[in-house]
Amino acid sequence: MKLTSAFLASTALAVAFSPAVAQEMSNEMTIVSWGGAYQRSQQEAYSKPYVEMHPEVTVTWDESSNEAVAKLRAMNEAGNITWDLVDVVAADAIRLCDEGLAMEYDPDDLLAEAPDGTSAEDDFGDLIVSDCFIPQIVYSTTFGYRTDMVGDTPPTDVCAVFDLEAYPGKRALEKRPINNMEWALYCDGVAKDEIYDVLATPEGQDQALAKLDTIKDDVIWWSAGADTPQLLADGEVVMGSTYNGRLFSVIVEQNQPVGMLWDMQVFDLDGWIIPEGLSDEELARVKDFLFFATDTQRLADQAKYISYGPARQSSAPLVGEHADLGIAMAPHMPTDPDNAKNTLLYNYEFWADYRDDIDAKFQSWLVQ
């Protein structure tokens, strides 16, 4: 009852205060996202209710977020932007903002207030990590392990990944330096708050690679988020890193013998950017949609379909139960206090600066 009235209230609010009611709006919108369960959660929570309110709008989904930076750059060079709204991780948003490919925005102007009147800027808080980035969810990259392959001592420490004696078998790690280098240094004895200072030096990078070298022969490198859940389900790997939402669906929705290892999970953000160079009509439509899709209730609704934490503080108390399974979603959120005892926050500034350098080193280490 409470939820319904909140829903009605915020819908009414959205209709009444939509910023561009009088303006001409394009009736077609191309939204770029990641595909899979994540995109489905966005469709259920944002675009379906929006299209119900505005039946004249056709929404096209493009599953290109993986290559969004390169494609946006190509579109920009060709002078023909065909996307209206793009879902990217925060690091890519920073890059796009730096290259002038994403539009800067004013949170209080574009986004709805919280139901209690808190301004959007305060409601999102620190999560607005770039002037172009409109946060949506908090997710984490963490490990899952096969409960039937770890004996009586399920791992509770991320360094189990580097412990081939206690946990023999293959591991799945992402084919990029980000996160892997941090875990390697942490498990090589570097204090958590010094990880990035160490990683900024060539010696520190070598140290991290040397630690990864100890398990290199037992690693299957993944590049798509769906790889690790599949490898775990097949029993190909004993443990592997991936996004927590993917592990949630393996464990809860597909009932596989997989357990979560929340230790040293790395928090990251995902959200929207508006490409630079839209026409006025397209921009008006995108703004109208965003005002609706990023309000408190919509972000909380998304958590019914996938276990990612909503980016607004005001959405957290509204997170309810899984849409199909009816289980409480809160304990499966990466931000749940039980899960977030030892965490790392993705260091956007560091990786924006060092991504090229460390990536070159990591990739040549990989093929050697």
Binding site: N66, E99, D356, S364, V367
Partner: protein, 577 residues
């Protein structure tokens, strides 16, 4: 159009050749004339030319289509491997100043260079070009990305030092309108006010009707040259980027900095002679300027980030300042264009040579596997009765109708350690459960999956060539006393070589550019150079290096094709009967 005339010239070039042969024959009896009295040669030429033109007109749509949609984009992409205008376009003044500086001098560039850098970077950070330049230079020198990113955040504040002191003298120095009155032509201000009015009343769209073009106040350029230049840049920025007029906002701190420099250079008499707007403020500022607290630009840059004191970074800017560079190609062959010329990359960063060799080697292995597997199948297809051959043919073609990704993923299911093949082997007791074979995420997996995927490209040309080989030849050889092997090897096989050639070229060239299959099943030891190209296109955004790698790959294929032509002869290749 140029191509059309060229082709035409080339085509008609042959016609006179034929005709001149005739002319020589008839040389003794004088030129042969056509019915209308013109020489037959000319008449023939005209008829042929018309024919050629008509033929050309018929293929023109296709030719133009191919040129525009295929050749041009490829050439454009390959051209990126040498393009490097970004440095001289983003930092034009700095690059000019640096031409006198030598990295070997072991001293930092002079103050004039830092002044130029300040001006360039201020503009670049307003236009948000500096991070793009930083990423470009970071490919060559580690850490330059962060250097540009950091300074881009700070460079806007360098001028606060002067702006604050001007403001202490007179509040108007921090306001939009007094500045505009000082710098802008009165006519511009009138136009600007009018334009603003129609914009605010929504009568015009600022995108279609930009603000009026900025004009400097008369005489101000002589009095304050640097300030005038900076203010003009500011006004242009407001017009194109902000869609506003110059007097709507207070100018950049760059303008205040330039004003300080102009005031220090100007004589008191010139300043006193000025009687336009803000004359009083200018005089006060001129009197006070010598006592201003100052800081050299070099000191400001070093305070913002001490990387600006690193000679290697400056050497990189200088080495990569020309508009065209060989840097990407050198990187693509594991070398580096540094301050002291061309050097090899450190051992632990050499990857491209290894990957090129691996790509060629694995493509050859795949081609040979395809020949070995495809030859018997093609032979069967060609020699079975029509009905069974057609059935087999469908089996060969079936993979063509299945998605590449599905076929590759199927191999994953087959080959992985908990996969079908390992399960069967364990069940049979051939291998122990603990020592299951590793057949995927390595070279073996890539070779198996790609051989399977490319097999039809070998079988089809082989089959179509084998179909044309008369079975009676084999029978004749046997009846003359050849053993089955001799008959096959001496009679049948040589006739099927054109099919092998065609199949091998197809398979090899397709294999060398494959990337999805190696990406999925290749792990780290089974990846190709194309995986790196894809990485540089979509992840690292180093398109120049990707283009250089692509150009080398294309060159390698062309050389191999040429070698094949020399050894086997391209006329010996048959795709069909």
């Amino acid at each position: 159009m140029a191509d059309a005339t060229q082709t035409n010239a080339g085509a008609s070039g042959r016609a006179p050749d034929d005709a001149s042969g005739q002319a020589q024959d008839s040389g003794a009896t004088g030129p042969v004339l056509a019915a209308d009295g013109t020489p037959l040669k000319a008449s023939l030429n005209r008829a042929l030319r018309a024919q050629k033109l008509r033929a050309l007109a018929l293929i023109a749509p296709l030719l133009i289509f191919v040129l525009v949609t295929f050749i041009a984009p490829i050439v454009d992409m390959l051209f990126r491997s040498v393009e490097n205008q970004i440095v001289s376009e983003t930092l034009p003044r700095t690059v000019a100043e640096l031409s006198d500086w030598e990295a070997t001098s072991n001293t930092l560039p002079d103050d004039a260079t830092f002044d130029a850098l300040y001006y360039d970077l201020f503009l670049a950070s307003e236009y948000k070009n500096h991070t793009r330049l930083g990423s470009r230079l970071n490919y060559e020198q580690t850490g330059m990305s962060s250097m540009f990113r950091r300074v881009g955040r700070d460079v806007g504040d360098f001028g606060d030092l002067y702006l604050d002191q001007f403001e202490d003298l007179d509040e108007r120095w921090d306001e939009a309108e007094p500045w505009a009155a000082l710098m802008a032509h009165p006519g511009y201000l009138e136009d600007a006010a009018e334009w603003r009015e129609s914009r605010d009343a929504d009568r015009i769209d600022p995108r279609d009707t930009p603000a009026p073009r900025f004009r400097l106040a008369p005489g101000i350029e002589d009095l304050l040259p640097k300030t005038a230049q900076a203010y003009t840049h500011y006004a242009a920025f407001m017009r194109t980027e902000e869609e506003e007029t110059a007097d709507e906002d207070e100018p950049w701190t760059l303008v205040s900095t330039m004003l300080y420099e102009d005031l220090m250079a100007a004589s008191a008499a010139d300043i006193a002679a000025y009687d336009g707007p803000m004359a009083d403020a200018l005089q006060t500022a001129h009197a006070a300027a010598p006592d201003f607290e100052t800081m050299t630009r070099k000191a400001q840059f070093l305070e913002a980030d001490d990387e600006w004191g690193n000679l290697d970074n400056w050497a990189t800017i200088k080495v990569y300042s020309p508009s065209y560079t060989s840097g990407y190609f050198l990187t693509a062959v594991d070398m580096k264009l540094g301050a002291d010329g061309i050097v090899s990359q450190p051992e632990d960063q050499q990857i491209y040579g290894l990957l090129f060799k691996r790509t060629l080697f694995m493509s050859m292995v795949i081609t040979i596997s395809c020949i070995l597997l495809g030859y018997p199948v093609a032979w069967l297809l060609a020699n079975l009765p029509m009905r069974s051959a057609n059935l087999l043919m469908i089996l060969v073609l079936l993979p063509f109708w299945t998605s590449l990704l599905v076929r590759t993923s199927a191999w994953k299911v087959m080959l992985q350690q908990q996969g079908v093949i390992n399960d069967v082997l364990v069940w049979l007791g051939v291998v122990a459960d603990e020592s299951r074979l590793i057949m995927i995420n390595n070279q073996f997996g890539t070779i198996v999956a790609m051989t399977h995927i490319l097999l039809p490209f070998m079988i089809l040309p082989l089959y179509s060539v084998m179909q044309t080989i008369q079975p009676s030849y084999l029978r004749a050889a046997k009846s003359l006393g050849a053993t089955p092997f001799t008959a096959f090897w001496r009679v049948y096989f040589p006739q099927s070589v054109p099919g092998i050639g065609a199949g091998s070229i197809l398979v090899f060239i397709l294999a060398i550019g494959y990337y999805i299959t190696p990406e999925i099943v290749g792990g780290t030891s089974g990846t190709f150079i194309s995986n790196r190209i894809a990485y540089h296109i979509s992840s690292s955004l180093n398109w120049g290096l990707a283009a250089a790698l692509g150009t080398i790959l294309l060159g390698a294929v062309l050389i191999l094709y040429w070698a094949y032509d020399r050894i086997v002869g391209i006329d010996n290749v048959k795709l069909g009967g």
